[in-house]
């Protein structure tokens, strides 16, 4: 099986879907001739033609509105928003239109679009190239939100998203596009080579939306993470030396509630890790769900490790970014409660 990094796996998924389904088309800022600023659509225009993969005006609202119209016609548009920070000009189209088209029209129309967008920090992108906006999407009923943490899942989730008849937002962790990392900013990225999840099969396979992955089994505490934070979690668990179970949620909506409940009932402790700022973040929803469904099994308060409640500051990226040390402290607090 070919070893791929996440950018290559995503490119491969798009390539295969373009080849297999004439109703799939790709557009977004700089995605055509140039292949996207992160190179995810590299070579697709040359291979599949101008009308299958093309550049758009810089108009995020226009991109999403156009994709909704195409989806309503019967196509399966896959659009790129260059940075997740720039999805906000398209927010109204996503929230008021894409999310509710099926419901509002009594099932007459729907919007099977896939929105791909790089998210997250750790690349010195400053406050407008670093955000993790998942919570604002998961709050909107009618949108699906997925976040891969490795090349294998990235390809399988993207194919599943494209084939899904609902609007799906895929947040791509740009920090680990080229290789996983352990959350320590003073060490280089590890190559994906040798990583089991970098073996990406050819052909169309699916990672179903709504299924968490068990990254690591353990008995004493459950760690919930997704995207880049899965790798930080692994480093933190190792550093803390605890028998932790790590779930990679992969899909936030639909959420694999059964996997979460089963794990927390088994371990009796739960630590949630995400990069977005804490207040009103997705960790709050996870915490409430665990509390509602596992209260009798909890041996310690649920812990949340997250970004601070400030905008992402350029000079302090690595103070903002939740690293293994903060997870270690939370794991210790949970274990010693």
């Amino acid at each position: 099986m070919p070893v791929m990094n996440m950018v290559q796996a995503l490119n491969n998924a798009l390539d295969e879907k373009l080849g297999a389904d004439p109703d799939v088309l790709i557009f977004g800022e700089d995605v055509g001739y140039f292949g996207g600023v992160f190179r995810v659509t590299d070579g697709l225009q040359a291979k599949h033609g101008l009308t299958r993969c093309f550049d758009t005006p810089i108009a995020e609202g226009g991109i999403i509105a156009t994709a909704i119209g195409m989806g309503a016609y019967g196509l399966r548009p896959v659009v790129e928003i260059q940075f997740a920070d720039y999805i906000l000009p398209a927010f109204d189209q996503l929230v008021s239109e894409a999310a509710r088209l099926r419901y509002r029209s009594n099932g007459e129309f729907w919007a099977p679009l896939t929105v791909r967008t790089p998210y997250g920090g750790g690349i010195f992108g400053g406050q407008t190239h670093s955000q993790s906006p998942e919570a604002i999407f998961t709050h909107v009923v009618g949108l699906k939100t997925v976040v891969p943490s490795n090349p294998y899942d990235a390809k399988g989730l993207l194919i599943a998203a494209i084939e899904d008849d609902d609007p799906v937002i895929m947040l791509e962790p740009k920090r680990i596009y080229n290789g996983p990392f352990d959350g320590h900013h003073d060490r280089p990225l590890k190559t994906w080579a040798g990583h089991p999840m970098a073996d990406v099969p050819a052909g169309l396979y699916r990672v179903p939306l709504g299924k968490a992955a068990m990254v690591r089994e353990g008995r004493s505490v459950t760690v919930l993470a997704y995207g880049t934070m899965v790798h930080v979690a692994l480093a933190g668990i190792e550093e803390a030396g605890v028998d932790a179970e790590l779930l990679d949620l992969r899909s936030l909506v639909p959420l694999d509630i059964d996997a979460i409940v089963a794990s927390v009932r088994k371990t009796g402790r739960c630590v949630i890790l995400h990069e977005a700022s804490r207040f009103g973040g997705f960790g709050g929803e996870l915490s409430a769900l665990v509390q509602e469904r596992c209260f009798d099994h909890l041996k310690a308060p649920i812990e949340r490790v997250a970004g601070w409640d400030t905008p992402y500051p350029h000079a302090f990226e690595w103070d903002y970014f939740p690293g293994p040390a903060r997870l270690v402290a939370a794991l210790r607090r949970a274990m010693e409660y």
Binding site: D30, L50, T51, F54, I58, F124, G126, R278, D309
Partner: protein, 409 residues
């Protein structure tokens, strides 16, 4: 029905790609002096041809010709040339600093220096510019301290914005320079609001805003012009058409269908199209629009026709999407060379003085960079960590207080 053609989807493409010969042959450029100059208080319906002409003052022999010649003092021409040269020198030096790992990011304005410099010198100290990342010339023209720019770029302990912004996203209120946002087009409307506030207060200040041609596609651009038109806001709305938006040529923003200045027509405000590499033309058009604004005649849209001679940013390699020598073929030349040529033509400059000024500017920039490096380059020196939690709100709320404590600062 059967006789109708099948519909097909049109995707525009630029005239030349890497490996092709740059092709500016289809470009219609009026000669210097050819485009008429309406009176500033002329009614908008009488100037609907303006967006299809081009205001140009400097001719092929570097002479100032035609109705738009602003007849500038030699002193201003010298200040303009100096600020443009300083801008380019600074850009080149800090671009190299990025390559040396001293900062995370840089963007140059090479080829576009006349725009920001002429407009900065033309407008008053109390007016407000709503800038983009490509108009550092505005600050250069107003003698903003170079060291402060360097410190911001290095995100070091001397950074006037305390490490919060990406390098070059400056803010300099005292220099009439509003905070730059990374979100394209998001501040065009702020300029209109600021100008409306000035009108509401009975003040005499006006605003000027920039977007690139790519950004004219954003909804915020159209919303801002609508407000500017409806309320006759005293604002100058500029589009720097430098032909490229990262890898996308101006046709992706609609340039094949009409000019960017012509966007003004549907909103009923004047739309001027200006040779953006001609310092005198930029000055004259800005002066015209500023006079209109100050006379309560409302907003003007100005397309500044230019060329982005360098890459989009340090993250970009333009040779991947356009002919490598396209910048050299740009028919409107280099703005610095043209102003220099003009000063020489009128007997106010020579090659020796030019070379001496260039080395003086290089030394000035080198000194500023050295001073910035002494404070620290990216990661080697930082503002106070505690400052990360300041200015989130005017008064910190409990979350900020608790988290600051948690971090131990």
């Amino acid at each position: 029905m059967d006789n109708l053609p099948r519909l097909n989807l049109h995707i525009p493409e630029p005239p030349a790609r890497p490996g092709d010969h740059p092709d500016f042959g289809g470009m219609k450029l009026p000669a210097a002096g050819e485009t008429a100059r309406p009176d500033v208080d002329a009614a908008e319906p009488t100037m609907r041809d303006m967006p299809f002409g081009m205001i140009r003052v400097l001719d092929g022999d570097h002479r100032a010709v035609g109705p738009w010649d602003p007849h500038l003092d030699v002193d201003i021409l010298h200040r303009g040339l100096r600020a443009m040269m300083l801008t380019r020198t600074f850009d080149d030096r800090l671009f190299r600093a990025h390559r040396q790992g001293k900062t995370s990011f840089y963007m140059k304005s090479t080829g576009e220096e006349a725009i920001a410099v002429a407009q900065s010198l033309m407008l008053g100290a109390r007016d407000m510019c709503f800038p983009t990342y490509r108009v550092v010339g505005w600050l250069m023209a107003r003698n903003y301290p170079l060291l402060d720019l360097v410190n911001q770029i290095f995100s070091n302990a001397g950074d006037p914005l305390r490490g919060r912004q990406l390098p070059i996203l400056y803010s300099a209120r005292d220099y009439g320079f509003y905070s730059i946002s990374g979100n394209l087009g998001s501040r065009y409307g702020h300029a209109v609001g600021w100008a409306m506030a000035s009108a509401y207060k009975g003040d005499d200040r006006i605003a000027l805003a920039y977007v690139g041609e790519g950004t004219t596609a954003e909804g915020g651009f159209h919303e801002a012009i609508t407000f500017a038109s409806v309320y006759r806001a005293p604002v100058i709305l500029c589009v720097t058409n430098n032909q490229w938006a990262i890898s996308s040529f101006s046709g992706i923003a609609g340039a094949n269908e009409t000019t960017f200045a012509a966007k003004a027509l549907a909103y009923g405000i004047p739309g001027l199209r200006v040779d953006g590499n001609d310092f005198l033309a930029v000055w004259a058009a800005t002066q015209w629009a500023a006079e209109r604004a100050r006379l309560n005649l409302g907003a003007t849209l100005i397309e500044l026709f230019t060329y982005r001679a360098s890459g989009h940013s340090t993250a970009d390699d333009p040779a991947k999407y356009r002919p490598a020598d396209e910048a050299l073929q740009w028919p409107l030349g280099d703005p610095i060379e043209r102003l220099k040529g003009h000063l020489i033509a009128i007997g106010e400059w020579d090659e020796e003085r030019h070379a001496a000024l260039q080395s003086a500017l290089e030394e000035e920039v080198r000194a500023a960079v050295r001073a910035g490096e002494a404070i620290g380059t990216l990661g080697k020196s930082k503002p106070e960590l505690a400052s990360m939690f300041e200015d989130v709100f005017k008064q910190p709320d409990w979350r900020v207080i608790e988290q600051r404590r948690e971090m131990g600062v």
